[in-house]
Symmetry: C2
Subunit: 362 residues, 2 copies
């Protein structure tokens, strides 16, 4: 089993996880809650969700008018974009793979390096990142949105107590409220742990045991397989060093040391190559893998994890079984109707500020 | 009234339109059909629509993996993108404004210059255009799509008689079948002409009369306000010269002569600056206006049309009334559920071939 690398303050939780993982028979397999959380600082309401849904799918408040939240976190798929790293406005690409929004409601921190304490804070990042939606500031995004007829009313309805409802804070609260509805319970795994022993195949059950025995659960624990985060206060993430074992072929092949992890933001030596443990829910839908999206298939991702995190050469059988088990983590996706986006009668909303390349014919 | 510029073979229809338009009282205002056409060469079926819907929203068969049909023809809005000209893969932009897909089922030709005879032929254009979805060929697009688990089955289900259902022809048939479901009947105008005289305001009724009297209906006639196209055989479009009157401020201001229109494709002198008469259904949702998207508001578009097509300086009142009438052409949008896009369990689908700009941090 790999050495746990707890961050300051996480020692107890990590030790508890180790103890549990040490005893395969007693391992506490947990189902995903069927209801998403609704935090006190932003209780979910129908009106917030309605506004947030429109904002989530509206590309018009990006610099080019072409990139929405859904562009990189496509809810029609695994809430990612299938790319190694995402492509934002004007064809620009960033350095990290798009994390899933499905079940992000259950994460206590957001982004690969956990630099946002909740979904509200997270929403501000891509909107203002030059390589994502590319708006100069959140204020500019709000300004663009409320220049569209209909949005002002939706803000007022979503935040009925506010004298000035069209604020940055309310904008991201609405987006977060919508995102908290995006959960995928009742996967075959969930059905299995709730008692339906036919929900997983024999191979999947074997994979589940292997997943625990080789040590995956020492980090990928809890109902979302992202560590004990679901029971942690907002902002207190569960971080691990990746890669832990560096003397192997994979580290160079997949360029795993180039990104400084949490240290990129904090500048701290102790945060070097530290990442939030990502959820494994719907992992089969979110290829390519890892923070840099350099691994194209799930079997290879499992092999790499075995080596660089547990220093184990997993057998072909072990890998196949674990992958079969991970396939059982794909949940039920709620049906989503497309929002009608507000429009200004007869007026252009997007003011285009540039493009990567223009041509004179097509 | 402006001089009609009929193309070869359209003389009779144009003459008939002229006669009708010449008598305002007798003008034949028509409602949009409530059922879309289902052509013999591609009868609409549920299975085709299901496949076509997935294809319409799937960005993975674009060169960057980020651009779908819906990117530029956004069904959550007016089925356009709000941009002067669209932005495709890698931030590239083309020369023309995205035409609406809503009610495109009722057009007898497609594209601004009518170079596709139906929706099937149209679908091939953007997929292979370097500045739109950027695939090298339709074969490559089909190959990419059927490399995704689940699509092969959907093709087989949609084309049950075919020994090899995964063809380019079937691909575009499915997309077209879905697009034919995208109609917006029962606008206030439709309700009005069907007998509900309260469906339009007094101003809108005044605008409707002005719209006819000043001569707009000499081209923008029929249920879709795109000329007699709905009753014309596939591929026989109704074209007009734009601009017709060139000695005015607008032609230079909005650069209306730069695009050769149909002549760009045909090379014929007689096709110079000829365009398909576009529908005015939902026109209030599709700013900015004209083939080059250079006019930002509908009132200005009406003023420009009055001058460059009818050589008339419309009064402020006339413009305001016509705009009010055009607002009455916004129909009822059917609720669309988001498709679940097929995935390859644990495998990357998009093979990214390049990007406009990469950065090392965000």
């Amino acid at each position: 089993m790999k050495a746990i690398q707890p961050t300051r303050g996480r020692l107890l939780a990590a030790a508890a996880a180790l103890l549990v993982a040490g005893n395969a028979a007693a391992y506490d397999w947990q189902a995903l809650p069927e209801k998403p959380p609704s935090p006190k600082h932003n209780p979910t309401t129908e009106a917030k969700v309605e506004l947030g849904k429109k904002l989530y799918f509206d590309p018009r408040y990006s610099a080019s008018g072409t990139v929405s939240c859904n562009t990189c976190h496509n809810l029609m798929e695994g809430s990612d974009d299938g790319r190694p790293t995402s492509m934002g406005v004007f064809g620009r690409t960033g350095p990290r793979n798009a994390p899933p929004v499905w079940n992000a409601a259950f994460m206590s921190t957001q982004f690969w390096d956990g630099r946002a304490k909740n979904l509200e804070e997270q929403a501000k990042g891509p909107i203002t990142a030059g390589v994502e939606m590319g708006m100069g500031s959140m204020d500019m995004a709000v300004e663009r949105v409320i220049s569209i007829d209909g949005y002002r009313e939706l803000f007022a309805k979503a935040f009925p107590g506010d004298s000035n409802p069209t604020t940055v804070d309310n904008f991201v609260k609405a987006v977060a409220a919508f995102e908290r509805t995006l959960i995928t319970p009742n996967s075959p795994y969930d059905q299995y742990v709730k008692g339906d022993k036919s929900a997983l195949s024999d191979q999947q059950v074997r994979g589940m045991k292997t997943f625990n025995e080789v040590g995956c659960t020492s980090c990928h624990s809890g109902p979302a397989f992202n560590g004990p985060q679901m029971n942690m206060p907002e902002g207190q993430g569960f971080y691990q060093k990746f890669p832990t074992f560096t003397d192997n072929e994979y580290v160079k092949k997949y360029n795993l040391m180039a990104d400084k992890g949490r240290a990129r933001g904090t500048g701290k030596e102790s945060d070097l190559h530290m990442y939030k443990v990502p959820t494994l829910r719907n992992v089969t839908l979110t290829a390519p893998y890892f923070h840099n999206g350099q691994v194209e298939t799930l079997p290879e991702a499992v092999r790499v994890m075995g080596k660089v995190q547990l220093n184990k050469d997993l057998s072909k059988q072990q890998v196949t079984d674990i992958v079969a088990f991970l396939n059982g983590l794909t949940g039920e996706f709620p049906e989503i109707t497309m929002p009608r986006l507000p429009s200004n009668p007869g007026e252009t909303v997007v003011e285009v500020s540039g493009d990567a390349e223009s041509v004179s014919a097509h």
